[in-house]
């Protein structure tokens, strides 16, 4: 069919948001979405997802396991703007308000195969000194002292922490210079990447391809 000269290549990503390490927090859920360039178009699967709430494992690892599947297929004509997955993790604070616990992003791996990525997560810092000061840096968020009038802040009360206007900004560089962030934890992702026709279009995404052809030359047809 048209396989002889494809006009797009496909990138199939599946995998899962496996687990997270947020030593201070519990009962978190995560959202993911993809950020990609103009030449990219999702053709199948889900671009966004929101996971279940998970609690810490009771063992030493204290891992927050979601095992939340990702499955999306993109088509593209240009590796520029290669998809990035943007993760944002939310969880309740002591008052039960959902607040953001971390943002993070990582490119979908380029080469086909199984990849595991651990993303460091971060949250924007508050501009207000007061709020920063009152930010609960408690090690045991489960049993905080009752916040007195001065050791709390309204935003904390109301469960409003600084959040990005759009989680997708973490996949972009624009405007980041005005923000200050603090690192939070880690999220581990597992990707299974399959590409199609990339080599035919002259994009060699690494040594994983079995055919030994490199460079933009069209590959040989099936050898007899």
């Amino acid at each position: 069919m048209a396989t002889a000269s494809p006009s797009v290549f496909l990138l199939m990503v599946n995998g899962q948001v496996e687990s997270a390490q947020f030593p201070e927090y519990d009962d978190l859920y995560c959202k993911y979405c993809f950020v990609y360039g103009q030449d990219w178009d999702p053709t199948a699967g889900l671009e966004e997802g929101i996971s279940q709430i998970t609690s810490k494992s009771q063992d030493v690892r204290q891992a927050l396991v979601w095992n939340f599947p990702i499955d999306v297929t993109f088509k593209s004509t240009n590796p520029y703007g290669w998809p990035q997955i943007v993760l944002s993790v939310y969880g309740p604070d002591v008052f039960g308000n959902d607040v953001v616990r971390g943002y993070g992003a990582v490119h979908v791996p380029f080469s086909p195969g199984r990849h595991k990525r651990t993303i460091p997560m971060f949250v924007p810092e508050s501009t207000s000194k007061l709020q920063k000061f009152t930010r609960p840096t408690l090690r045991q968020p489960r049993a905080p002292p009752w916040p007195g009038p001065l050791c709390s802040s309204p935003s904390w009360f109301m469960g409003r922490r600084p959040e990005y206007t759009d989680p997708k900004v973490v996949a972009q560089g624009e405007g980041r210079e005005v923000t200050r962030v603090r690192s939070q934890g880690f999220v581990t992702l597992l990707f299974n990447v399959v590409t199609k026709d990339m080599r035919k279009l002259g994009y060699d995404t690494g040594p994983s391809d079995t055919q030994g052809v490199s460079g933009p030359n069209p590959p040989q047809r099936f050898p007899q």
Partner: protein
């Protein structure tokens, strides 16, 4: 049984032992032991003494001991333990059987226990009684055997002898008895087995005897353990633990060969326990006699120990990934390794962060142009002294003297050896060697001594010269001072030594000479002998010849040839001692210090004083001044790039510069060159390069702290002549008065420095790895620099290089030399290799993956490129195709066309040329502004990125705490702010425009038609007209008109935006209330929802008010009873236009707006009477128009872009600018919401003080001429003129959020601008008309922050809306202006500091400082700022012909459009009506749409009597055609689908000066009445 054996053991006969002993393959040969006598001792001399025997002896001994001990009733003192340290045994022999071992030690302890011994003794006491034949058990024994329970005891007793035996064997070894080691283990084991077996048989034998006598007892069917063991031994092989002798492991007659000893590397063998090794060797020897398992050294072949001393596993990174992560298997495909050596540092190397420490301690000039003569001498002196010191330190003369002495001694001893054990030959030989060496050394020593002396002499000479110079010039320049210290030695000893030395030398020389003499004599003798022989032969020959000559005269020819005239050697002269002595003494006097002379030690010190300046002659003073002016610094060049420089230090009077700076060069590459450049600065002139100093790159072993300070000399070839005492450089000068003996000195000096590699924190030197240095470096450089690739960096002269290459005979075919060869070929062919241009990224070419041309040719790349440049056409282009062939050529067409048209004025679209030009100009300004703000747009604020609750202070904190207690659902809820959305990730359909139509006032009502209209047909009737009783328009008797409660008007509102139309339900009456929300989707142009794009949306929201008219379409009245057939007609009443940009920036628009109602609305009238009747007198009188209350917003709320947060350059006075900032800050503090403007940005992007814009400017004379006497009318006319200039927000025209103020002439040229331009122009006109006028900055609806004009007229203030031309009284409640921020006059700014800011509530008297805060005051008087406005506005007369042409074209376009909008219907044009309308329009223009309606109506009636006519004139300023089309479309005239409808459309354009065009469009639909 076992115990039995042990009991009986001692009585066993050797006979019985015999057969057993032979079973032992190897028995120990040893002499009898000196132990208590036992039966076996009788067998002294018996060679094959069995172990058993010995065992028994020991046993016996132990027993007897034990017995005696028991008798004495004293516990035994455990002699065994002392005797046989079991530990030792463990290690030596039995170490490998731990089980047994433990057992044994335990037993040993047990056996020592007292009770056992006792027991045994009791048993023994019985024993000796019956004398049983040897070998047989006694009866008791037999009995015991069967009855006694020996269980715990016998082991001990059995083990005891075993242990004893062990002790024995141990002893044997200790005695050094040679024993085949291989058998040790085996023997021991066999022995043990033997013991068992032996005893068993003994027992059986004994039993047999008994049985024979008494009963016939068959022996138990039992295979003797001995046999079994024997069988086992045959079958089983138990390898010995003894060391195998080497010879067994090697082939016959082969000596073991130890490779290690031969110097070959063998590696470390894995460690295996010795015993295991032995076992293995034994096993191998037994199994495989071929010995192929053994190496040459007789050991088992083994590979080197594969275990590394250090773990090679990478360290575990984090704790989190600890155990699980490590165990997890990751699938990775095999990677084909691609060697890439193109990077300077290869990936394998550690990332380079190396450091080179360069310590520049100082600089000393050995010559400098500013040197005075004295300095020259001083430098010379210092140099000589340095030399002297160096020589002194080495003291070569002394060394050579000592050597000479030693050699002499050696010769002395050699000549008279004490023990003549060596052959005389060798002695002679060595002595000869010594002698020659002595000769050599002496020569050297003499030379050295002479040098020392001359050096000393020179020093003294220079010092003298210096002294004389100082005397001569009468001042001192240098503190140098030479002191000659005399060291007096013991004269006598000295003299003796001197004499001895001379004597020794003389004797040596004599000896040499005699030797020489002897040799010569020998030579002489031989030669004499030869000579004699020759002479003899000669004589003989002569004789012969004489004879022969007579006989054979022919032969004579050849004869004289060999005849050589040997001279008779003269005997050599014997040497004369006196001569030699004289010679030696002379030489000694020359080179050596004479013994009476004291040793002179020169000492150079800086103790001298320099003559102060005031005592010096002028030339010298100026020299010193010059020196003071000079300063020196060094540049450090790394790989020919300047990396740092020292501070500039003044040159000291001593021409020394101390820097003492350490430069830490963080480097990545292996250094190629390291250069210091010496720069000298004289005064404030630019520095001159004196010299370059090349520093050697340190060895990798040289690290900081270990590097010695080195001095590198430099010199410069500069020529300097100075006009003072300084001698200059490169210029000849002389010390002599007559100028002879000239010297030419060059500037030179020394830099003391040290270069070393730094040491990292962990003590690792930060040196680039060798691999990089050798491979990476070179390979990388080979590409970059051919010369350095061959290791001769620094060679820059191509010719030299070529010469060198030719000389060194480089192989041109060697690929390594290829780049060099190419280089040389280029260089020698005359082409310059060094480019005369500078390139920043010289490797860029290599990194370009295609050439630029190819990039341009490819459509795909072009598309990508344009997209990344954000060219509007391509900004949102999605999915750029992969192949060029898939890209349509037409993609670029628009873009290319635009590019082409940039300078071509396209009139087609804009219809009139001026506007086309303006559009182009605007486009250009826009582009430049966009470029200007492109960077500024990149700035983001925190709010753009992060949503956060603000927490400003404690009070709010407390408030919010209080809020917690608030009711969740308060009775009076307050409006909550909506969440704002930044427009970055929106897409189509996300944004909706919400229009809430609340109510309207004073909608025109239908007017009962005149009689003519009323009864034209039976079939059609209008509800409103049906019952109109009176034909008179002026006497509307509504009460009778609508007896059935028929409404005057049934208005509904239709909102159209971006061609989407929504409408409300129909309400009734002139004051309808709809209260409906309409939702219209918003689509951004090109789907680009960026802020910039949204700002430039030009779309307008049209809010049209229609009257819904029902027409009965029944043809026949007879059918009326059965059905109603009506047709709905809609009649346009008016509209309100709100630009999207206003909504976008205001976020919401809430208010009552005047409906733009056409001046003539046929069939409708404003029902003033009715209003009057209803008592709205005041309102009605004030407002002549209809109003509609609206609420418009965007959902979700978009965050409008912030204005540019950038400081613009300004030509204003700095003080003024500061004052403006202060003023604004103060105002903002008091009333943050009130607009306060002091400076604005003009069109070229500079900040301008706002009052400069205000200046009286003349309105067009044309306008002034209209009402020469009526100022008020003129003012209105002028306002109208201004309002005719199209409104175009800056954001639309300039893309960015910037409020650019153009001057009035620019505004008139552009013919577009927003509120402030209109206001400024209007204000200027008013000022010119002599009015008191101010620019009023405030908020209005719907514009938001805007500019109005305030005038003072006849005791009241008028507020003018410059965009519409309307004026409002201060107390007009329908005035769109809602807040007043500040007033601006031509010479001052007043900020509103009153409590209220709405116009009706404030006082406009700016003279009251309590109400108005003025910018210029007494403290800051008005400086008299010049205006930015032109002196005068020049108006071109409007081109009437062009206007007429435009008029025709617009009419044509509109007609076409209307036909287009009615695709399914026939559109007929009523020419007659059109021409009527066309005549009417100029009238409208003249009267400005006032008070013409009635005449017009009458006229129309007259002409179009039998048509039902609905239509209206539209009036607009002209900017483009599109708004006109939109306006016509908005009226919905074309929507009539009555079959026989006809249309009329007339356009009139009235040109005003400066090409301001007023456009009138009369559009009407006509339906013929039947």
């Amino acid at each position: 049984m076992v115990s039995e054996k042990s009991h009986r053991g001692n009585r066993q006969e050797p006979v019985q032992e015999e057969p057993k002993t032979h079973l032992l393959s190897m028995t120990v040969r040893r002499g009898p032991r000196s132990l208590p006598p036992i039966p076996s001792t009788s067998r002294t001399g018996f060679a094959e003494f069995s172990m058993r025997g010995r065992m028994r002896e020991k046993l016996q001994a132990a027993r007897s001991k034990a017995e005696s001990a028991l008798l004495q009733e004293i516990p035994t003192p455990r002699p065994r333990r002392l005797r046989s340290p079991s530990k030792k045994e463990l290690e030596t022999e039995f170490g490998t059987e731990p089980g047994k071992e433990v057992e044994r030690t335990q037993q040993e302890v047990d056996s020592q226990s007292y009770s056992r011994v006792k027991f045994r003794d009791s048993a023994r006491k019985i024993k000796p009684k019956p004398q049983v034949p040897p070998g047989f058990p006694s009866a008791e024994e037999a009995y015991n055997f069967f009855t006694f329970n020996f269980d715990p005891e016998p082991e001990g007793s059995e083990e005891k002898p075993k242990a004893r035996h062990r002790a024995g064997t141990n002893q044997e070894e200790e005695e050094g008895e040679e024993e085949p080691p291989a058998q040790g283990g085996g023997k021991e084991m066999d022995e043990e087995e033997l013991l068992n077996g032996d005893d068993a048989e003994d027992f059986l034998l004994g039993l047999d005897h008994m049985a024979d006598d008494f009963v016939s007892v068959r022996p138990a069917d039992y295979e003797s353990i001995h046999d079994r063991l024997q069988m086992e031994r045959e079958m089983l092989f138990i390898p010995s633990r003894q060391t195998v002798p080497t010879y067994k492991k090697l082939p016959e007659n082969v000596q073991p060969r130890f490779l290690e000893d031969e110097g070959l590397y063998t590696g470390v063998r894995p460690e295996v326990a010795r015993t295991n090794q032995n076992i293995m060797e034994n096993r191998l020897l037994m199994q495989d006699p071929e010995r192929r398992w053994f190496g040459d050294d007789g050991r088992i072949l083994a590979l080197p120990n594969p275990i590394k001393p250090f773990p090679s596993r990478p360290p575990v990174l984090t704790q989190e990934q600890s155990s699980k992560a490590e165990l997890e298997t990751l699938y990775k495909k095999a990677v084909k390794y691609v060697h890439s050596s193109q990077h300077v540092i290869r990936s394998g190397d550690p990332p380079g962060n190396f450091q080179l420490d360069i310590d520049i301690s100082g600089l000393i000039f050995t010559h400098h142009p500013c040197f005075s003569r004295e300095h020259v001498l001083a430098a010379k002196l210092a140099q000589l002294y340095d030399q002297y010191l160096a020589r002194h330190q080495r003291n070569k003369a002394k060394f050579l003297t000592d050597k000479l002495q030693a050699l002499r001694n050696a010769v002395q001893t050699g000549l008279y050896p004490e023990k003549p054990h060596q052959s005389l030959d060798t002695i002679q030989k060595t002595i000869n060697e010594y002698k020659s060496e002595i000769r050599q050394t002496r020569k050297f020593r003499d030379a050295e001594q002479e040098k020392d002396r001359t050096l000393l002499k020179t020093i003294i000479k220079v010092w003298k010269e210096m002294k004389s110079l100082r005397e001569f010039q009468r001042f001192t320049n240098t503190p140098l001072k030479l002191v000659l210290r005399k060291e007096k030695a013991d004269q006598k000893a000295d003299e003796e030594a001197y004499e001895a030395e001379i004597q020794a030398e003389i004797s040596e020389l004599l000896e040499e000479h005699t030797e020489e003499y002897a040799q010569k004599m020998e030579e002489y003798r031989t030669s004499l002998h030869q000579w004699k022989a020759w002479r003899k032969a000669q004589r003989a020959k002569k004789k012969k010849r004489k004879q022969a000559a007579e006989e054979h005269p022919d032969d004579e020819i050849a004869e004289p040839y060999p005849e050589e005239d040997l001279v008779k050697p003269s005997p050599p002269e014997p040497t004369d001692r006196a001569v030699i002595e004289q010679e030696v003494r002379k030489r000694a006097a020359q080179s050596r210090r004479r013994p009476w002379e004291p040793t002179l030690v020169p000492e150079l010190s800086l103790a001298g004083s320099v003559t102060p300046n005031d005592q010096c002659p002028r030339a010298e003073v100026s020299r010193r001044e010059d020196v003071k002016k000079r300063s020196v610094y060094l540049k450090v060049l790394f790989n020919n790039k300047e990396v740092s420089r020292t501070v500039s230090r003044p040159l000291g009077a001593d021409f020394r510069v101390h820097f003492g700076q350490i430069f830490n060069l963080q480097i990545v590459n292996w250094p190629e060159s390291l250069t210091l450049q010496v720069y000298e600065t004289i005064g404030h002139s630019s520095p001159t390069l004196l010299a370059e100093v090349f520093l050697p790159i340190p060895e990798t072993t040289v690290v900081t702290g270990r590097a010695p300070t080195e001095e590198v000399e430099f010199s410069s070839n500069q020529h300097v002549t100075l006009d003072h005492e300084g001698v200059g450089s490169g210029v000849p000068f002389s010390f002599e008065a007559d100028g002879s003996n000239q010297l030419t000195l060059m500037t030179s000096g020394k830099v003391s420095h040290s270069v070393a590699w730094a040491i990292g924190e962990n003590g690792i030197p930060l040196i680039p790895p060798l691999s990089q240095q050798n491979i990476g470096f070179w390979s990388a450089l080979k590409k970059a620099d051919a010369i350095s690739s061959i290791g001769t960096s620094g060679l820059t002269d191509m010719k030299k290089l070529a010469k060198w290459a030719a000389e060194s005979k480089l192989d041109p075919n060697d690929p390594n030399n290829a780049p060099l060869m190419q280089l040389i070929s280029v260089a020698t062919s005359g082409e310059s290799y060094v480019p005369d241009f500078f390139r920043l990224e010289q490797l860029q070419q290599e990194f370009n993956f295609v050439s630029d041309q190819e990039l341009n040719r490819s459509k795909r790349f072009r598309l990508l490129h344009l997209r990344s440049q954000e060219v509007p056409e391509f900004r949102n282009y999605k999915q750029v195709p992969v192949y060029d062939r898939e890209i349509m050529e037409k993609v670029f067409q628009d873009y290319e066309k635009r590019l082409r048209d940039r300078n071509v004025i396209e009139t087609k679209e804009h219809i009139d040329t001026h506007r086309a030009i303006v559009a182009k100009y605007l486009q250009q300004v826009r582009e430049s502004v966009i470029n200007r703000f492109l960077i500024a747009k990149q700035y983001f604020l925190l709010a753009d990125m992060i949503v956060e609750e603000e927490v400003p202070n404690i009070s709010i904190l407390g408030l919010s705490l209080f809020k917690l207690a608030e009711q969740k659902r308060p009775l009076r809820p307050r409006r909550k702010g909506r969440k704002k959305v930044t427009a970055q990730n929106l897409s189509d359909g996300d944004i909706k425009l919400l229009v809430n139509i609340v109510r309207a006032y004073d909608i025109p009502v239908r007017k009962p038609a005149v009689s003519k209209f009323q009864q034209p047909s039976r079939s059609s009737r209008m509800f409103s007209e049906k019952h109109a009783a009176s034909p008179s328009t002026y006497s509307p008797t509504h009460n009778t008109d609508y007896p059935l409660g028929q409404v005057l008007v049934r208005p509904f509102v239709e909102v159209s935006f971006q061609r989407t139309v929504c409408h409300t339900t129909t309400a009734e009456g002139p004051n309808p209330s709809w209260n409906e929300e309409l939702e219209l989707p918003f689509r951004a142009p090109n789907g680009d929802y960026s802020t910039a794009s949204l700002q430039s949306v030009k779309d307008v929201v049209f809010i049209n008010i229609f009257d819904e008219v029902l027409h009965d379409v029944l043809e026949d009245d007879r059918e009326r009873g059965s059905g109603i057939h009506t047709r709905i007609e809609r009649h346009w009443l008016g509209c309100v236009k709100i630009p999207f940009s206003t909504i976008y920036f205001q976020a919401r628009i809430d208010g009552t707006f005047k409906i733009d109602i056409p001046p003539v609305l046929l069939g409708y009238s404003k029902e003033r009477n009715m209003i009057l009747e209803r008592g709205f007198d005041s309102v009605g009188s004030l407002s002549e128009g209809s109003y509609i209350t609206l609420f418009i917003t965007i959902e979700p709320q978009l965050v409008p872009g912030e204005s540019i947060r950038e400081k613009f350059e300004s030509q204003e006075d700095e003080k003024l600018l500061q004052a403006t900032e202060k003023f604004q800050a103060e105002c903002a503090l008091k009333f943050p919401n009130r607009q306060c403007l002091t400076t604005v940005i003009d069109i070229s992007g500079t900040t301008v003080f706002i009052t400069r814009y205000l200046k009286p400017l003349n309105p067009p004379q044309e306008l002034l001429n209209v009402y020469p006497n009526n100022l008020q009318a003129t003012a209105e006319l002028v306002a109208r003129y201004v309002s005719l200039i199209p409104f175009l927000p800056d954001t639309v025209s300039f893309g960015g959020i910037c409020d650019l103020w153009s001057t009035s002439d620019q505004f008139l040229d552009l013919l577009a601008g927003d509120e402030e331009e209109h206001a400024v122009l209007l204000c200027n006109y008013f000022l010119s008309l002599g009015k008191k006028a101010w620019l009023l900055m405030g908020n209005a609806i719907p514009e938001g922050p805007t500019a109005y004009v305030l005038t003072w007229e006849h005791g009241r203030y008028l507020i003018w809306n410059p965009c519409s031309g309307h004026s409002y009284g201060q107390f007009d409640i329908f005035c769109p202006l809602k807040n007043v921020g500040c007033l601006i006059g031509p010479d001052n700014i007043w900020f509103n500091i009153q409590r209220y800011d709405s116009p009706p509530r404030i006082n406009f008297d700016v003279t009251r400082p309590k109400l108005w805060k003025s910018f210029f005051s007494r403290s800051l008087p008005y400086p008299g700022l010049s205006s930015v406005q032109p002196e005068e506005l020049i108006y071109q007369r409007s081109d009437k012909a062009a206007a007429a042409e435009l008029q025709d074209r617009i009419e044509k376009i509109l007609k076409e459009k209307i036909m287009d909008w009615r695709p399914r219907h026939l559109t007929r044009w009523n020419r007659y009506c059109t021409s009527t309308l066309r005549h009417f329009l100029p009238l409208l223009e003249k009267s400005q749409g006032e008070d013409v309606e009635d005449d017009h109506r009458a006229e129309l009636l007259k002409q179009l009597g039998d048509y039902r006519f609905s239509g209206f004139p539209l009036h607009m300023p002209y900017s483009e055609v599109k708004p006109l089309i939109d306006a016509v479309y908005g009226t919905g005239v074309h929507n009539i689908d009555v079959p026989n409808v006809e249309f009329a459309l007339a356009v009139y354009i009235h040109p005003y000066p400066k090409n301001v065009l007023s456009v009138w469009i009369y559009v009407a639909s006509l339906i013929r009445n039947r």
